[in-house]
Amino acid sequence: MVDSYKPATLKEALALRKQHDLIPLAGGTDLMVKYQSWSGTLPRFPKGALFISRLPELKGIEKRGESLIIGAGATLSDVAAFPDTPKVLRDAVLSIAAPGIRNIATLAGNICNASPAGDSICALYALDASVVLQRTGSERTVPVMKFITGPGKTVLEGDELVTAVIVLLEKANISIFKKVGTRKANALSKLSFSAVAEVKGGVIDGIALAFGAVGPTVVRSVELEKKCIGKKRSEIESNIEEIVRDYSTMIVPIDDQRSSAEYRKQVALNLLRNFLTEELAGGMR
């Protein structure tokens, strides 16, 4: 039996976080499954729970300048419904679970769960998203790519809470999210792929490619992306196999109960090749 806390304000929540070793719980859709026990008994939480979904400060999504500020209490359904949500994120969010789960699960929670198969995380990598971490008296902003360090591992400190997710609004004119799940709906990912690109005057001005569930964290290489910047359509087209080869060394998935390493790798590279050929080169026409 562990204690649970339901603070009324963010200030109170941060104070509790500092005072006790607690697990922040928003929607609970991952945690309640992770710690479930015999039905009719309490879940086996290893430490106390801090309920944060009702905190007024964490509610809501707003557009601020070129950024979207998504409160840590915003649910996946809220994110999907918000008109300025970038397409790649909206598509990713709508590919998660089923409406009932999306109505309670939060985007911040999906990030903190830090699953390599987390579908929103794949899109957030491609969007250069950051998380805002607060503790009593201070605040820091960390890119999602740096926030997540391994499966289920983040740099969140024991006295911090994620209070918001900041997403840069896309200037991208090409944007796709593709999930290969175990079935067509209400499924976990075998792998996922997010791509956003901005094409200006016939050349690539910006590009971000992220692969989910093919490594311990989402895979993205800013280095490799740089090679594409400034390239024309013909240059991309003639370099497709080289780009695919470059990514091939970075994508090292595993076999598990949902798919095989071989399939994940091959299909990830197929999705990349298909994106470069169809959406990217096609979009530059």
Binding site: A187, Q257, E262, Y263, N270
Partner: protein
């Protein structure tokens, strides 16, 4: 022409189930209820060398084999009684029941369980059919790990192979399949008026009664089983409930208090029976004109740690081994193999789907070897009335396969598409033909089950029917009422039919084997006729009717020769698919089915059976991967054991071909399993055409398609 009985009515259970008012076992309240949880084996194969227990506080109990009364026995009487109620010094699979921990507070029960230490002397386990046959770790059963072997011979297969110009061979594999009924396994045992009473989510109340009576060591009449509204079963609640009911009964017998044993979902997927995995090697001997001279079929199924009903499943796989074909010379061999996986048991189709998957896929492959398209080739060998079956008797059904093919072809445009897709790398269309024997195999109905049904006039315009068969989602409570009402000239809502209670209903047999409508429905029809002639004797008048085997059928259970089934349902499925060349995902773009179930008993209920059976089989064929890793099912959550959702497959387009059966109610035949049988081979056949590569195994996952295309 539509029959009156086929006209759909509102199901009697529709509103209470759709509105959530129906009460399932977990919804019942019992005063002083105790909760039981199973202490399970953690090892796949081991001797138990010791069990250390913490001190149990008052009101908490450790129940094991020592609590079985001296008159009873530690064996569960299913088909074979080798499965123990509680492990006896050794364990043969992970999850085997060692003991129950029982008490009023679940948290305390869990704590006590966590403090029990079982010590094992481990032995080397065998998990697969090949490991079982190789007696890995030494034999688990007999000296060869074979629970049973059968050989069916028709004609002279040896001669056929001697004369063969070409032999086509393939080995076809199917995996475990989880039932995933909506309501997990569960029951509550109580001591009521001096009688051990069990409220059960189950298909076969009298099976449970027999098992429990044997374990407690009392006459069956001293045990009472009350079936409660059951949230799906698919065969998973045929025998397996005995594995829950018997340890529960031992606890209730000792404590004389109500005890609940209800599985959680993960527990249910991890530790209940699955469909038998199969490996079936088929060789076909062809002459120079590519005409089939004979076949050799070698069937192996994985029975798991205990035999239980495995041999009956194997028999059905063999009896359906030649599918719908008249093969002049054939040897059908079958072996059931002992391994250290969770024991396999009944699942919709009971062995037939495995046998039919192999023969259908093989026939498509032989067709291509012979330079023909699958349907053209298969149709040449359709069995006809009067042809010899694999059990050396004549086919007595009126076989309408050609008419069914015509209907399917008209609906699906199969004949045109199959030619068009022959060289299309992204599209394929598959076809399969099946039959399914209704009712128990061979002499089961007349020698073992001996069903009895009862009816009673209960009011001016009211009657009640008494059977032991259960509603489990298939619509039986509506269908049997319709049958009775039609004979009595009443509305179906004027007939009462409660969930069976073994103290009240006669034993009309288990709710299995596509027998409830065909066999029990016929008994109800005949019983209602009797009641009608005696209607004027007044309220309270009762009539009974006993099973009589249809005339002209013979069977020898020792040799498995004769009329294996009184009648067959017939079916054909066409499945059309497309592949995403980037992800190798297969999208099903069309499903067309034609079934001969005699006369459909209710159009809506039968549409549900067809959709449910076909989509369940497509899940089996395409996504329901269930691997064993270190003796455990690797996909044991609903996140990882995936079944189709409503968006995974398109609507099933179906027509029924009417073909009334003289000994079915209003001409009905068995249907519940038939609708499962054909979709998996049709799907695999479609993927074969798409990839241009033979498929030998289901589920055909995108991973497998990628591998095939390499």
């Amino acid at each position: 022409m539509s029959n009156k009985i086929s006209t759909a009515v509102r199901r009697v259970d529709a509103v209470e189930k759709a509105s959530g008012r129906a009460r399932y076992i977990s919804d019942y309240e019992f005063k002083g209820l105790l909760y039981a949880r199973v202490l399970r084996s953690e090892k796949p194969r081991a001797k138990i060398t010791g069990i250390s227990k913490p001190d149990f506080p008052e009101g908490y109990y450790y129940i094991d084999g020592k609590d079985i009364p001296s008159e009873g026995r530690n064996n569960i009487q299913m088909i074979k009684d080798d499965w123990h109620v509680f492990a006896e010094g050794e364990v043969r699979y992970i999850g085997e029941t060692i003991a129950l921990v029982v008490g009023p507070d679940k948290e305390k029960v869990l704590q006590l369980l966590s403090e029990i230490r079982v010590s094992y002397k481990e032995e080397e386990p065998a998990y697969t059919i090949a490991e079982g046959l190789a007696c890995k770790g030494g034999p688990l059963f007999g000296d060869d790990n074979i629970y049973g072997e059968y050989n069916l011979v028709k004609g002279n297969p040896e001669e056929a192979f001697k004369n063969a110009v070409k032999v086509v061979e393939g080995t076809y594999k199917t995996g475990f399949q989880e039932h995933l009924y909506m309501e997990p396994q569960g029951m509550v045992g109580t001591w009521e008026e001096g009688k051990l009473t069990i409220y059960a989510s189950a298909q076969c109340p009298f099976y449970i009664r027999k098992s429990v009576a044997g374990v407690i060591g009392v006459d069956e009449k001293n045990i009472r089983i009350k079936q409660v509204t059951t949230g799906g079963a698919f065969g998973g609640k045929e025998h397996f409930p005995d594995v829950i009911a018997t340890p529960l009964a031992v606890a209730v017998h000792k404590l004389k208090q109500p005890v609940e044993l209800v599985f959680d979902r993960i527990e249910d997927i991890s530790f209940t029976c699955k469909r038998h995995p199969s490996e079936i090697t088929i060789k076909t001997a062809l002459d120079k004109n590519n005409t089939i001279l004979g076949m050799d079929i070698d069937t192996r199924i994985n029975g798991g740690g205990y035999e239980s009903s495995t041999l009956i499943v194997l028999q059905r796989a063999l009896l359906h081994g030649l599918g719908v074909y008249n093969i002049p010379n054939a040897h059908v061999r079958g072996r059931a193999v002992a391994t250290n996986t969770f024991p396999s048991d009944a699942y919709r189709g009971f062995g037939a789907p495995q046998g039919l998957f192999a023969i259908e896929l093989h026939m498509s492959q032989v067709a291509r070897e012979a330079g023909m398209l699958p349907a053209d080739f298969k149709r040449k060998y359709f069995i006809k009335t009067g042809d010899m079956t694999v059990t050396n008797t004549t086919m007595k059904d009126v076989v309408k396969l050609e008419e069914m093919f015509k209907a399917a072809d008209d609906m699906s445009d199969y004949s045109r598409k199959v030619k068009e897709y022959e060289h299309d790398p992204l599209k394929g269309i598959g076809i399969s033909f099946v039959n399914h024997g209704g009712g128990f195999t061979g002499n089961g109905e007349q020698e073992i089950i001996k069903s009895v049904v009862k009816m009673k006039r209960t009011g001016e315009k009211k009657a009640a029917l008494y059977v032991s068969n259960v509603e489990m989602g298939q619509g039986l409570q509506t269908v049997l009422r319709k049958i009775a009402a039609q004979e009595l000239g009443l509305d179906y809502t004027d007939i009462d039919y409660d969930n069976p209670d073994t103290d009240i209903v006669p034993d009309s047999g288990p709710t299995v084997a596509s027998r409830s409508t065909m066999v029990v429905g016929y008994l109800i029809q005949e019983c209602a006729k009797k009641l009608k002639t005696r209607w004027d004797e007044g309220i309270g008048t009762e009539t009974e009717h006993h099973y009589v085997h249809p005339p002209g059928l013979v069977w020898n259970q020792d040799t498995l020769q004769g009329d294996a089934y009184p009648s067959y349902g017939w079916g054909l499925n066409v499945v059309e698919v497309e592949m995403d060349p980037v992800t190798f995902e297969i999208k099903t773009t069309g499903i067309w089915t034609v079934f001969d179930v005699g006369i459909p008993m209710d159009d809506t209920i039968m549409a549900g059976q067809v959709s449910g059976g076909v989509i369940q089989a497509l899940g089996y064929a395409s996504m329901e991967k269930c691997e064993v890793l270190d003796g455990r099912f690797r996909q044991h959550t609903m996140a990882d054991y995936v079944i189709p959702t409503s968006v995974d497959f398109p609507e099933v387009k179906n027509v029924f071909i009417e073909n009334p059966y003289a000994y079915g109610p209003s001409g009905a035949k068995g249907a519940g399993e038939l609708v499962f049988d054909a979709a998996a081979p049709a799907y695999a056949d479609a993927v074969q055409q798409l990839t241009g590569r033979n498929i030998y195994e289901i589920p055909v996952t995108p991973e497998m398609v990628m591998g095939a295309l390499k």
